[in-house]
Structures are given as structure tokens and as C-alpha cells.
């Protein structure tokens, strides 16, 4: 890749910033060159983010239908699964799996709720409130 071939596609995900890549300049030297993004990279990234988005939308529908707990949505929003959430809390994965069930979740103690809220960095109140779950993952939820 030559310096003048370094893509400058102004990727939205860079939020106006730039990254660095390495390219060959006119004298044949490999130099650090700023890039504002590459459509190929951006595409690959949006495929991944769209997948997260559609999973979140599916869970949201389940929460509203009462077949999933809001905890499941917030956990996924933080890109965690039951295992990672359990590791972050220092408890067993099975326990998180159990708490994820809507019936069990509804009866959780305040202590547990605040532990989960703290670990996921969200207010305790929104953990109990299906209405706090925004429709699009782009909307800032807390």
C-alpha cells in the first residue's frame, strides 16, 4: 500500500478522529500515515454491530412479552454473557443463569439488584423497569 492509497473514507465509527497505518512513501520507505477510515473495515464493523443490535431488539421484545428479564437485556448491552457477568461479580455462572429467568428475577432482593446494577454500570431503578429499555441500541439508555 502506497501512502497515497491509504484510504481516507471518513468512517463514522472514528467519530472524527483518525488512526494510524503503515504505507510506502515515494522513496520506498515504510512510514506511519494517518487514516480517517476504510469502507471495508467500516462494513465489517457494522456487520458485527448490527448483529448486536438485532440481538438486543429480540431480547427487548422478549422482556416486554415477559419471557426474558431486563437483566438479560442490560447484560447483552454491556456485551456480556452469563459467564462473563458471573466472572465480573465473582459468583457462579449457574447463579447468574438462574437470576436471568424472569420469574426469579422479579423476586430478587435489593442487594442482588444493586450488585448487578453496579457491575453493569446502570442505575438500579432501570434494572427493574422494562420501559427503561430503549428501542434502538444507539439511544443512550442511562
Amino acid at each position: 500500500m502506497k501512502v497515497e492509497e491509504v484510504p481516507q473514507d471518513r468512517a463514522r465509527s472514528y467519530e472524527g478522529g483518525s488512526k494510524v497505518c503503515y504505507a510506502v512513501d515515494a522513496s520506498g520507505k515504510i512510514v506511519k500515515t494517518p487514516t480517517s477510515g476504510w469502507t471495508v473495515e467500516e462494513s465489517a464493523m457494522s456487520i458485527a454491530w448490527d448483529a448486536i443490535g438485532s440481538t438486543l431488539d429480540r431480547i427487548r421484545a422478549d422482556v416486554l412479552a415477559g419471557t426474558a428479564s431486563p437483566l438479560a437485556w442490560f447484560m447483552t448491552m454491556r456485551q456480556m454473557d452469563a459467564r462473563l457477568l458471573a466472572q465480573n461479580l465473582g459468583i457462579s455462572t449457574l447463579r447468574v443463569w438462574w437470576h436471568l429467568r424472569p420469574g426469579v428475577f422479579a423476586r430478587l432482593s435489593q442487594t442482588w439488584l444493586s450488585r448487578y446494577a453496579d457491575c453493569l454500570d446502570i442505575p438500579v431503578a432501570s434494572l427493574k423497569d422494562p420501559a427503561a429499555i430503549p428501542e434502538s441500541r444507539h439511544a443512550e439508555c442511562c
Binding site: M1, S13, E15, V20, K29, I30, I47, A51, D121
Partner: protein
């Protein structure tokens, strides 16, 4: 000890670990480039392990295991260093605060998901992101030189603690690291370069399992050739393809899955040691980087369902890359090592 007053110079780099290391070394009075660190620390690699899943997708990596570049660079250059993680978060927090208060620039391993100054879409649960903390703002936030960002950032204490003590794969356990060279130290580069190249060549060519190095590229080619039959859900197929491309281009690789960055190292080493074989390897590795970029382009076209080349071109291109890289590293082994 460096003087407490000297301010830390932020330099943006392609890759976080080699960037943090080179920025720290330069701050400590040893001017080295990111590429030199990446090469001496044997950063280049290829791994494709389908049974290790990251977010349900097969692990593909173009670099060595996170955390190894810093140590290897320091060892091979003979630079004393500190590298310490903490079982007790409180102790880890105090250790960082004391060092920073003493005017020290400290490398810190974090989970990038919890760093609020990064663009939102760069954030995912990855515990191997290296940054440099080198001060405090009047509001008591940390002053952070994140190698992948184009400017110095700040990070609140709460986020930093979260990022440093996140759990999961590669959990950082509050890891801090910094080189501590004696004043006026002049390390010898030539043996360090040789050691770095030797390890990379060995790993690319000699690991007797199909998942690593050049064999790994061929293995991934065979797997990708079978994906359309195996992954009947087109969404899964496109996620899998996109994931390989993301690992290659997005995660601070400097383009072409670190191939250009490693080529920069080979070129710099050629100038330093006067070995023409290194310059030639640099040129050919740039070609390999170009092929990787082509691969990314057609893989994403396929993933998006807008391909003007047939699917078979993807595995074929990977085989071409494998052959080329095998030649490059075999040549290095024969004529340089």
C-alpha cells in the same frame, strides 16, 4: 529515574501494546519506534483456532499473545522493567496512584469497553488494551496517553478501576508495567533484532499444529472454503467473514493484519544492520499486506452479499498469501538467521 517534571510526549501508533511500549521507552530516554518494538518483541503471528470462541466466533489473530511484546522487547534490549499485577484491587489502585504522583509514566492494561474517551464503536469486551497513564487533572481524572487515539485523553477514576480490574479472558488484574533503564543506557539492537526475527520465523514456520503460522493461514483457507456449506444461515456466514476482517483491520493493526507494521520493522532493521535480506523481506511482506487487504475487500463484499468475484476466490487468495509468507520467512531463516 527520570525527572518528574518532564512531560510525556503522546505519539499515536497503530497498535496499542507496541505503541505503549515505544512511547514509554522514548519517555525513559531510549528512542525507539513502534515498528522496532513490534519486531523485537515478536508481535507478528497468525492463529486460527475454531474451537476457541470469542463472542461465539472462531478466534483468528494476526499477532502474538497480548502482554508478551513489552516484556520481550525489554528483555532483548537488556532494559530493566517492572511488570506487576495485583490480586487486591485496592493495592493495585494505590500502586498506580503512587507511581503517577511520583511523576512516573506507567503502562496499564485495561478492558477497552470501560474507557469512556474511546469512540463508542471501538468498545468491546477485550481485556488486552494497553495505555499509558502519566498524570492527574485538577479534577482528579487520570491523564491517559492511549496509543490508538490521536490525542491525549482523560479518564475518570471509576472507569479506570473498572477497566483495570475487569474479569474474563485475559483479565488484566490491574497490571502495570514500565521500563526503567539506567541513564544514558545504549542497548545493542542487532542481537535483539535477531532474537525477535528468530522467534517470529520459528512461530510462522515450525509449530507442528495446523492452527498456527503459515499452516494456520492454509487451515483458515480450508475452513473458509467450507463455510458456505457449514453455515447455512447467511447471517452467520457474514458474521464469520466480517469477524476475520475485523481482527485483521480494525484492532489497531496498521493495516493488512500487522504485515505493514512488521515490514516497517524489517526495513528499519535493514538500515540499522546493513543486511539487504531484511530489506528484501520488507518489500515482499508489504506485498503480502496488499494481498491481505484484497482478501479483506472481497470477504466483506461476500459478507454484504454484493460480490463481483466468486466465493472461491477468498480461500484461493489465502493460499496465495500462505505461499508468499512461507517463502518470505524461509528466506529469512536461510539467509539472515
Amino acid at each position: 529515574m527520570q525527572s518528574a517534571a518532564r512531560s510525556f510526549e503522546h505519539t499515536q501508533t497503530a497498535h496499542c501494546e507496541s505503541g505503549a511500549t515505544s512511547n514509554l521507552l522514548r519517555h525513559a530516554g531510549l528512542p525507539v519506534t513502534e515498528a522496532m518494538v513490534f519486531g523485537i518483541g515478536s508481535g507478528l503471528f497468525f492463529v486460527h483456532c475454531p474451537w476457541v470462541k470469542l463472542m461465539d466466533l472462531p478466534l483468528t489473530s494476526y499477532r502474538s499473545f497480548p502482554g508478551t511484546i513489552f516484556k520481550k522487547t525489554c528483555k532483548r534490549l537488556g532494559v530493566p522493567y517492572r511488570y506487576q499485577s495485583f490480586r487486591d484491587p485496592l493495592k493495585g489502585r494505590r500502586a498506580l496512584d503512587e507511581l503517577v504522583a511520583g511523576g512516573r509514566a506507567v503502562g496499564v492494561r485495561t478492558n477497552i469497553f470501560w474507557l469512556p474517551y474511546t469512540p463508542e464503536r471501538f468498545r468491546f469486551q477485550f481485556n488486552g488494551h494497553n495505555i499509558v497513564v502519566h498524570g492527574r487533572t485538577p479534577e482528579n481524572d487520570y491523564v491517559v496517553s492511549d496509543p490508538i487515539m490521536d490525542r491525549t485523553s482523560t479518564c475518570p477514576e471509576r472507569s479506570m478501576n473498572r477497566a483495570r480490574f475487569a474479569a474474563g479472558t485475559l483479565a488484566p488484574h490491574g497490571l502495570i508495567f514500565f521500563p526503567d533503564p539506567a541513564a544514558g543506557m545504549k542497548p545493542e539492537f542487532e542481537p535483539a533484532i535477531r532474537a525477535g526475527v528468530r522467534e517470529t520465523v520459528g512461530r510462522m514456520l515450525n509449530i507442528p499444529f495446523p492452527f498456527f503460522g503459515v499452516r494456520g493461514i492454509r487451515y483458515m483457507s480450508r475452513r473458509i472454503a467450507r463455510w458456505p456449506k457449514k453455515l447455512t444461515d447467511p447471517a452467520q456466514l457474514s458474521l464469520n467473514l466480517a469477524n476475520v476482517v475485523r481482527m485483521q483491520e480494525e484492532i489497531g493493526t496498521g493495516g493488512g493484519g500487522f504485515r505493514y507494521l512488521y515490514a516497517a520493522f524489517l526495513q528499519e532493521s535493514a538500515d540499522l544492520t546493513g543486511a539487504p535480506v531484511l530489506a528484501e523481506a520488507a518489500r515482499r511482506l508489504t506485498d503480502s499486506g496488499n494481498l491481505w487487504r484484497d482478501f479483506a475487500t472481497i470477504a466483506v463484499q461476500q459478507a454484504r452479499g454484493r460480490a463481483d468475484t466468486p466465493y472461491e476466490r477468498i480461500p484461493a487468495l489465502l493460499l496465495e498469501i500462505a505461499t508468499l509468507e512461507e517463502e518470505i520467512f524461509t528466506d529469512l531463516r536461510r539467509r539472515y538467521l
